[in-house]
């Protein structure tokens, strides 16, 4: 009954987990704590985050681990609920006594659980939470790989106004911290460019019927639509817009990039533009990205998305920091090394961690080609 490819992915994933925990050469393993939403609405993103990190760990262990010690991981589900996220990170830090924490997806959960790693002095990297405030609260122990809303939203607005010369853009955003974050920056950036959005429409993260919002936008005479949401909702909006006769350029943030977007939305997804730091198409991707895509496809039987890539890079940067920190793996040292990351050639671009703990790198704008696959439309080089 199981989808064949899916079955292989699950089996591989299990073997990976088992073999990791069983292979220990004498010295105790290095423990990585992963906190992610593994049930509920955001489970699809949490699932990818764990897969990205697991792949990185497998590759690290294949090359003898760190300081000769193998790396193992513990994944805890936070059900995208702040109180549960605190439970999960407490368990990782105090019960499993992990050396570092990677996660979580929802910004509200990260904001709640990063207090724990700060107090316990454990380095934490959130690969996916994009709320700018996370790195602006003076917490030295939190780092973020995802390009924050500010960087991504500004890039797509600049492209829409300067390159596509659009004048009357509308915004549809998912009414949670991810969607609202993007919307606020887009509205601010449009004002800076002397423009006003013709319509700003919110929708419930697990809403299915968007016709009310789409019709409102169509009647407002919009010539472009920013969609700040994840790929599943993005596919819904793309299809329903086409069905309701709204034929305008669709633009959005990193959350839209996913091989399943075309699978779900069909031709409605062609021409969709979104900001990205990870180029998901093997041809034209950087050597690191290409190697990652192949390894991921071999491991899980499906193509990776930006969340998987971000999680993979988080683990790799953490590993580099641990290597530099000497065998004692002093947590303060590891933290300092992460903060000092310069021009790291990651899968999601050349990464430098700034003084706030954000990963700075150039933002690509990619477009879904007719027939599927991606092409880079910005920067032109």
């Amino acid at each position: 009954m199981l989808h064949r490819k899916r079955l292989m992915g699950v089996v591989a994933f299990l073997i990976l987990g088992l073999c990791l925990s069983s292979v220990t050469y004498g010295a105790p393993p290095i423990k990585i704590g992963i906190v992610a939403p593994l049930s509920g609405g955001a489970a699809m993103v949490g699932d990818t985050q764990v897969k990205g990190i697991a792949l990185a760990i497998k590759q690290i262990n294949a090359q003898g681990g760190i300081h000769g010690r193998q790396v193992v991981y513990y994944a805890e589900d936070d059900e995208q609920i702040p109180a549960k996220s605190v439970n999960a990170v407490n368990k990782l830090v105090y019960q499993q006594k992990v050396d570092a924490v990677i996660g979580t997806v929802n910004s509200s959960c990260t904001l709640a659980n990063m207090e724990i790693t700060k107090r316990a002095g454990v380095p934490q990297i959130t690969p996916i939470s994009s709320n700018p405030k996370i790195t602006r609260l003076g917490n030295p122990w939190i780092f973020r790989l995802q390009a924050s809303d500010d960087q991504q939203a500004e890039a797509i607005v600049n492209y829409a106004v300067n390159v596509l010369k659009l004048k009357k853009m509308a915004i549809m955003y998912q009414s949670d911290d991810y969607g609202t974050g993007g919307k606020d920056v887009i509205v601010r950036r449009l004002k800076e460019l002397g423009l006003e959005p013709v319509a700003v429409e919110a929708f419930n993260p697990d809403a299915k019927d968007m016709s009310a919002q789409i019709l409102k936008i169509k009647n407002a005479g919009a010539d472009g639509l920013f969609m700040w949401t994840m790929y599943a909702q993005g596919a819904l909006i793309a299809r329903q817009s086409r069905q309701l006769g709204l034929k305008v350029p669709l633009m959005g943030g990193g959350g839209l990039t996913n091989p399943k977007l075309v699978e779900l939305a069909g031709e409605a997804a062609y021409g969709l533009l979104n900001t990205q730091t990870f180029f998901p198409d093997p041809e034209g991707a950087s050597p690191e990205a290409k190697a990652f895509i192949e390894a991921y496809k071999k491991e899980y039987g499906i193509l990776p998305d930006s969340n998987a890539a971000m999680s993979y890079d988080s683990m790799m940067i953490l590993a580099e920091a641990m290597k530099k920190a000497g065998p004692a793996l002093n947590k303060k040292e590891v933290r300092d090394n992460i903060a000092a990351t310069k021009n790291y050639r990651g899968v999601t671009g050349v990464i430098t961690i700034d003084k706030y703990g954000d990963a700075n790198r150039d933002i690509l704008i990619i477009r879904v080609k007719e027939g599927g696959g991606y092409e880079v439309v910005w920067p032109k080089h």
Binding site: M1, L2, H3, R6, V10, S39, G40, G41, A43, M44, G46, D47, S175, E201, A202, F203, N204, D206, A207, K208, D209, S211, A212, Q213, L215, K216, N219, A232, A235, L236, R239, Q243, L244, G245, K260, E263, L264, G266
Partner: protein, 285 residues
């Protein structure tokens, strides 16, 4: 613009109506507020997905197979989670349905993963244009099948002997038993029919909203609100309640504020309840 909103409201409204039918039946036969109705839709969608997409069976055969599978699952769930609680208090039975819902949703998430599965549109992708109005064929089918099922169910409950037995058993188990109605079977039948109805609703919306483990939660809630809005005893009330809720939601989203779309629909429902404590259609079937 308004007319287009109404059409869209009618489409989503009939989905709510279909689910509401399940709630009405469950209330009729089990006098329970069943929180797992939305998940019946999810299961139905997954069955169709398995037969049609994974096993590549032609849709005309896959559809009845999926309905049969829904019926069988309904039968099993009734035996495990509902039958042991027949005599129990209403509040215990309600919590049992909540537990069953959590169990089913997460079981499917573990088996099929959390990602959404696409579903090929059964009735064609391109909208039909009438002047400047667009009608998606899928919505036409949803509304059509929705009303057809409501009418069929109504006839079944009013005209056929089996249907009357179901209603009698619902109203008064003891007396019905005295009249020679095998009450337990009739309740099982009601549960199976309610699960199949929910399953069909899931199958109809699969092409529009993809198939995933959590798809049933929100629409299940709306279906429940629609059933109560229409007067939980009445089949036609379920469809009427569904349509009203669907249109209200669409208009609210379109004209008031999309952020408060669901809130406005629920506020309307509360207002109706305050002025007509037993729903719009009240007692009539």
């Amino acid at each position: 613009m308004l007319l287009q909103q109404l059409i869209q409201g009618l489409a989503i409204g009939s989905v709510y109506g279909l689910l509401a039918l399940g709630y009405v039946l469950m209330w009729q036969a089990w006098a329970v507020l069943d929180f797992a109705r939305g998940d019946a839709a999810m299961m139905g969608a997954f069955f169709l997905l398995i037969f049609n997409v994974f096993l590549k069976i032609h849709i005309l055969l896959a559809f009845p197979l999926a309905i049969a599978a829904s019926a069988l699952t309904g039968f099993i769930i009734e035996r495990l989670a509902y039958r042991p609680l027949v005599g129990a208090r209403e509040i215990n039975r309600l919590i049992a349905t909540i537990g069953a819902g959590i169990l089913i949703r997460n079981l499917y998430r573990v088996m099929f993963g959390a990602d959404p599965f696409p579903f090929p549109t059964i009735f064609g992708e391109h909208p039909i244009y009438i002047k400047h109005l667009m009608i998606v064929p899928q919505n036409l089918w949803i509304t059509g099948i929705g009303f057809a099922l409501a009418i069929l169910l109504r006839l079944f409950l009013l005209k056929t002997w089996r249907g009357k037995a179901m209603r009698a058993a619902a109203q008064d188990r003891e007396t019905a038993a005295l009249m020679g109605i095998r009450v337990k079977n009739s309740m099982t039948l009601t549960f199976v029919v309610a699960t199949v109805l929910g399953g069909i609703a899931g199958m109809l919306i699969a092409p529009l909203y993809f198939v995933m483990a959590d798809m049933g939660v929100l629409i299940g809630l709306k279906g429940f609100a629609a059933a109560v809005l229409g007067g939980i005893e009445s089949v036609t009330g379920a469809m009427v309640g569904g349509i009203i809720l669907g249109i209200a939601e669409n208009l609210a989203g379109g004209f008031i504020s999309s952020g408060y779309q669901t809130a406005i629909a629920f506020a309307l429902m509360i207002l109706v309840l305050i002025f007509r404590p037993s729903g719009i259609m009240g007692r009539r079937l």
